[in-house]
Amino acid sequence: MKAEFSEQVLLKGLAKNDAKAIETIYKNNFNMVQSFVLNNNGSYDDARDIFQEAMIVLYENVKSEKFVLTCQIKTYLYSICRRLWLKRLQYANRFTTQVESLEETVPIEEDLEHQEKRNLDFAIMERALGSLGEPCKSLLEAYYLQKKDMTDIASIFGYTNADNAKNQKYKCLIRLKKLFFSQYNIGE
């Protein structure tokens, strides 16, 4: 009971982006995934990549209200890592023998599909931001990503006042939206 309770606390912390919770989950599970990847033709870097990807899947899921974790965090992360690693092995054509399974797994196919979709969206956003050019990119990042105040932004970017900065920001935003929606299909 107690373990379950603390896992719920950890998940709540993760949803709130609490560094302590993330660190605890990270610390408790990374070694397991590392030994799994290393035992199956992987390197340390592979292990880190795979584990962080799995952490992202967990994070994105925990953020949505609907998500209920029906197993231990450990099992969930392991299942995702296993699936991701199998995929990567198949992709690299290194998949020769049955990957040995150390832990029990749970079905996570759906979660992974959602995540793939999300990753695709993020990639589009990243490309759009990348092709925007300076100073638009930095300006928008400062406002939308770093959530800075308009007056701060004005002083950082050397605009005479916040309204000027705001105007500039909207111009940039219109361009970004165009770039983004040229690749992003709303219907899907």
Binding site: I22, I56, R118, L145, I174
Partner: protein, 369 residues
């Protein structure tokens, strides 16, 4: 400018920064103008997307930092498997002990080998040669004595006849029926069989089958004491490849044991009467029994391929039955020959098996005029 104004209003609307009046007006506009409505929806989606992206990026960054932080504090160890770590630790811990132990071992080994060399008597070739001569001398004496004894005691060896061939035979019936190869006794005028204690008995040919190269001999000697039962049995079906086999025979005056394995189910040039075994055999082994590990006779050793080593052919044991049947058919004078069908040797130690078998294996000497 209109676009920017609209965008600003939309953003403020979405952030809930509009005043009540402005909000009502804007919502009115949304209802009347579908373009504006669509733009609001689109923008809200876009803002959601970009904030998601921001969160994702921050989170990834955070993960990296945590990873590096944990590496620094040593709570994760990248680049080192725990097992190799253990080995390295052990090595560091016991390096000194190991080196001391190795040194001691080395010194001890040197010391012992020194001692051994020092105390080993120097071998002298001359002594060995002398010893050889002495043994030969003894042998010579023994031979001379033996000959003399033979001259006195040997009524059985036929006079004026020369021993031409020697071979091996074994009992198939305790009453004195022996099986051997036909080529061992072919053209013999007199046959003597000798057991492993050196006793000789007169024997005669009961049946000779040159096609199968089998002969059945009968001991006709009052000195022979019939055995009530034989320790081994004779197998009717053929042996399997790879079965361990052993033979007993008389390539010299002593009974000689040899072992090997079944190597083929047919004999020379595909001969189905015989089979191939790998065992070292010499002239004199002919007619000797081939046993499997349970002490069943599976064959009668007959020939060897000259140009190949260890290729020996044995006549399959079932042919013995055919020969005995032939004998019963052709000559009713012979009492029923009972071939042993059960082996007493199963599961016995090889040495014990041989002790029991060796009394039933005889040397055959053929004499011709």
């Amino acid at each position: 400018m209109d676009d920017i104004l609209l965008l600003d209003t939309t953003e403020r609307y979405l952030n809930g920064e509009l005043s009540a009046g402005e909000k009502a007006a804007f919502e009115q506009l949304r209802q009347t103008n579908s373009d504006v409505d669509q733009m609001v929806v689109e923008h809200s989606m876009f803002i959601h997307q970009i904030s998601e992206y921001a969160q994702n990026r921050d989170y990834k960054h955070q993960l990296h930092e945590i990873h590096n932080h944990l590496l620094e504090t040593g709570e994760l160890n990248e680049g080192q498997l725990t097992t190799s770590g253990k080995v390295a630790q052990m090595w560091n811990k016991y390096r000194r002990v190991t080196s001391i132990a190795a040194t001691i071992a080395g010194v001890t080994a040197l010391f012992i080998s020194g001692l051994v060399t020092y105390f080993t008597p120097v071998s002298n070739k001359k002594e060995i040669v002398q010893l050889n001569r002495k043994i030969e001398q003894v042998m010579h004496n023994v031979r001379v004595q033996g000959n003399q004894l033979n001259n006195v005691l040997q009524p059985k060896v036929p006079v004026n006849e020369v021993a031409t061939k020697g071979g091996t035979s074994f009992l198939v019936d305790g009453k004195g029926y022996l099986v051997t190869n036909a080529h061992v006794v072919a053209d013999a005028s007199t046959i003597l069989v000798q057991n492993n204690k050196g006793q000789e008995f007169k024997a005669s040919i009961a049946l000779i089958d040159n096609d199968k190269d089998l002969a059945i001999l009968k001991i006709n000697d009052e000195d022979y004491k019939p055995l009530t039962s034989l320790p081994y049995s004779i197998r009717k079906n053929s042996a399997d490849l790879g079965e361990q086999v052993f033979t007993l025979g008389y390539p010299r005056d002593e009974i000689v044991y040899n072992e090997g394995y079944m190597s083929a189910k047919t004999g020379f040039n595909g001969d189905t009467i015989s089979c191939q075994i790998a065992v070292s055999a010499n002239p004199g082994n002919s007619g000797g029994p081939v046993f499997n590990k349970n002490g069943d006779v599976i064959g009668i050793l007959s020939t060897a391929q000259i140009k190949a080593q260890g290729v020996v052919f044995a006549i399959k044991s079932k042919n013995v039955f055919h020969a005995i049947d032939d004998l019963k058919k052709t000559d009713t004078a012979y009492p029923r020959i009972k071939v042993p069908s059960t082996s007493r040797l199963k599961g016995m130690d090889r040495v014990q098996q041989i002790k029991q078998i060796q009394d039933c294996v005889f040397m055959v000497k053929s004499f011709t005029k």
